[in-house]
């Protein structure tokens, strides 16, 4: 119904002008057929017939005005023609005026926009993700999805953001609409019920709105993956209570990473590499020192950091401007932007500082003061606004936490490579001795840039060739998928990270492990390796070449011929 609502609205509002138009024509034509005319000599003649009357009124009403046709008029006809002119011309102008006003009407324009959006969504013939909220996080995620060639549909409450989106340069045409995501009908318009909808992502800065998106999606499409941003643990718990799969609390994620970097730098590095943007240079390992830490700001972020640091057994001093409101019992009162407070908190003995208030300028002021006092401190900053990136870059803290970037990276990893999240979960339980050799292997494979990470599922959809080979009783090992289709003796620059089989899963599987149909693999490697592997996955002839080292004959006739030649020779 939404599609046609613009037309219906226009038709409804056009009723009066159209009826006036019909009535004025009818009166004028009728009058012309009743008023007596005159012949060439000025003697009374019968009135015009309908045909000529309609002709005369048509050219008069539209202000074309051919004059007195077919012959000169009688005085009575001229009198009626005058009336006709004023009547019909005014009604015409009124009608055209109302059409123009209608097109300017906000309700109509909105209806047209919604109609266009709904049609665009219905026209999508590939899986798409529904992104609710296109602020900093949503924008980042959209750009990333776009560069992975994944279609998105965007809803945001702010029309300004939507029009900015139209200016952005994207490969894919992204349908976008300014609408309140808390209303289920908008989600339905955006394709929540379409079979092509592959997932819904709630990223608004309003926890309540994210929650309502999660509820709507769970009720209308129970099996659809829902990824939600949650800024407070309360909301996260609420979402988890009805089975939302992906809940990301940026503050928790970051605090966990900070703790991981302190406790197990190798693992942290592994995480950074595998979730980074492919093609970027590999980052160096961070080695945050163990010792006393000072945390400024005890809000959502500060609390998460303090909890994780304490779990690692690290001494923490907290500075908070409003201890009563944040529920901080043993805090040092102050903002942390003044040297006195920092010294009071024991900055001289500390090894690291976390500037974690919700004000970017205060955070910068804290770390700048701290650097004056003790330049060798390990500094962690929290950046709240994208716009302040140049300032934080210039300052160059060892770790910078940007909630929007963290949430976008988490979601992207979950959307594009579901196995990666599982791999990282498993990796977290391993120790340093496991992580360090893996890091050097990845560095060797990926030529000093962030590697691509991809899933392979041995099934008829994504990789038909291995599936065929296995179904025909052939033997296939992981290493067969790691050979170069241009020269089967050369290996591809990739590394299997995880295998999921029907019976279980294995981290870093051996390369000679035999595969079975339905297995899922996680690889990391260069972009080229991924592309070349895809050749073998989709084309049985390429895969046969990799397995045998010979170009297999393709069609049935060629196979028969090859068979005959073999038996003859």
């Amino acid at each position: 119904m939404v599609v046609n609502s613009a037309i219906f609205l226009i038709l409804r509002r056009m009723r009066l002008p159209l009826i006036l138009l019909i009535a004025s024509y009818a009166v004028s034509v009728l009058g012309m057929t009743l008023v007596p005319g005159a012949d060439a000599q000025g003697r009374p003649a019968p009135p015009m017939d309908f045909f000529h009357a309609f002709y005369f009124v048509s050219y008069t009403a539209t202000t074309i005005g051919f004059g007195e046709l077919p012959g000169a008029f009688s005085e009575a006809q001229r009198a009626w023609a005058t009336i006709t002119i004023y009547l019909t011309v005014i009604v015409w102008l009124y009608s055209i005026g109302s059409i123009l006003t209608l097109l300017q009407d906000p309700a109509i324009r909105r209806a047209i926009q919604v109609g266009r959006f709904v049609r665009a969504v219905r026209g999508l013939r590939q899986p798409f993700y529904l992104i609710c909220g296109c602020g900093e996080t949503g924008g980042l995620l959209m750009r990333a999805l776009d560069s992975h060639n994944r279609q998105a549909v965007v809803l945001d409450i702010d029309p300004m953001r939507i029009s900015e989106l139209e200016l952005g340069r994207f490969h894919l045409d992204t349908p976008a609409l300014a609408a309140d995501v808390r209303l289920p009908e908008h989600l339905i318009d955006a394709g929540l019920r379409r079979p092509w909808c592959a997932g819904i992502i709630a990223l608004t800065n309003d926890d309540q709105a994210n929650l309502s998106v999660a509820v709507t999606a769970k009720l209308l499409r129970p099996k659809l993956p829902v990824l939600c941003r949650a800024d407070t643990p309360d909301t996260a718990a609420n979402m988890a209570s009805f089975g939302t799969e992906g809940i990301v609390n940026a503050f928790e994620v970051f605090a966990e990473h900070l703790a991981m970097a302190l406790n197990n730098p190798g693992q942290h590095l592994l995480y950074e590499w595998l979730t980074g943007v492919p093609g970027d240079p590999l980052c160096e390992p961070l080695r945050p020192p163990r010792g006393k830490w000072v945390v400024c700001g005890y809000g959502r972020f500060g609390k998460a950091v303090v909890r994780h640091l304490k779990k690692e057994g690290i001494e923490v001093a907290v500075i908070e401007a409003d201890p009563a409101k944040t529920g901080c019992d043993d805090c040092i009162h102050g903002r942390g932007t003044e040297a006195a407070t920092l010294i009071h908190a024991g900055i001289r003995e500390a090894v690291g500082i976390v500037a974690g208030t919700d004000d970017d300028i205060n955070n910068l002021s804290i770390v700048m003061t701290a650097r004056e006092l003790k330049p060798e401190l390990f500094m962690v900053t929290r950046q709240n606004r994208e716009a302040n990136t140049p300032l934080f870059k210039r300052f160059g803290a060892q770790m910078n936490m940007q909630p929007s970037v963290i949430v976008a990276h988490e979601f992207l990893a979950r959307l594009t490579t579901p196995l990666l999240a599982r791999f990282l979960d498993l990796a977290r339980r391993q120790d340093e001795a496991w992580a360090n050799p893996l890091i050097s292997r990845i560095a060797a494979v990926s030529e000093e840039t962030v590697p691509e990470v991809w899933d392979v599922e041995i099934g008829p959809e994504q990789s038909i060739a291995p599936w065929q080979v296995l179904n025909e009783g052939g033997h296939l090992a992981i290493q067969d998928l790691m050979r170069d289709p241009y020269d089967y003796q050369r290996g591809l620059a990739c590394l299997p990270l995880l295998i999921q089989t029907g019976t279980g899963e294995g981290l870093l599987p051996e390369e000679d492990l035999p595969l079975t149909a339905g297995d899922r693999l996680l690889f990391c490697g260069t972009r080229g390796a991924r592309r070349r592997q895809a050749l073998a996955l989709r084309n049985i002839n390429v895969l046969t070449y990799l397995l045998t080292g010979r170009d297999a004959p393709g069609g049935w006739a060629w196979q028969r011929l090859a068979g005959a030649r073999k038996s003859a020779g």
């Binding site: 509002r13 034509v29 057929t33």
Partner: protein
Amino acid sequence: MNLEKVVFGFFIILAMTLNFGFVYGEVDNPEHHHVYELFAVIVVNLIATVLKFGERTQIGAIHLATSFVADLQLIASACVWGFAVYLSGEGLTAPVTASIISLALGALAANVLSVVLLVIETVLFHR
């Protein structure tokens, strides 16, 4: 009582009655069919069509469709009339009159259907 409904019903029924009045008589006798009646039928039908614009219901859509059919048939009938009298110069002969009236009869069928829909809608309207 709703004035909109009165006007709506008035025009739909008037379209049917005028249409009936026009086609009543021998089908090929021009004496029995007046041009002013055809004119009135066309005008009233056009107004009835516009009144049906903007209905979102299923029955509203069928209403609009019947009106379009009636308009089409009546305008075709008027065109045949104009063509015979002014363009071909054949005049209102019996075959021409028969085709004018049969077109208008088709419009009458659509108009009757329209009135039937109106009645159904009224019966379904329980409040």
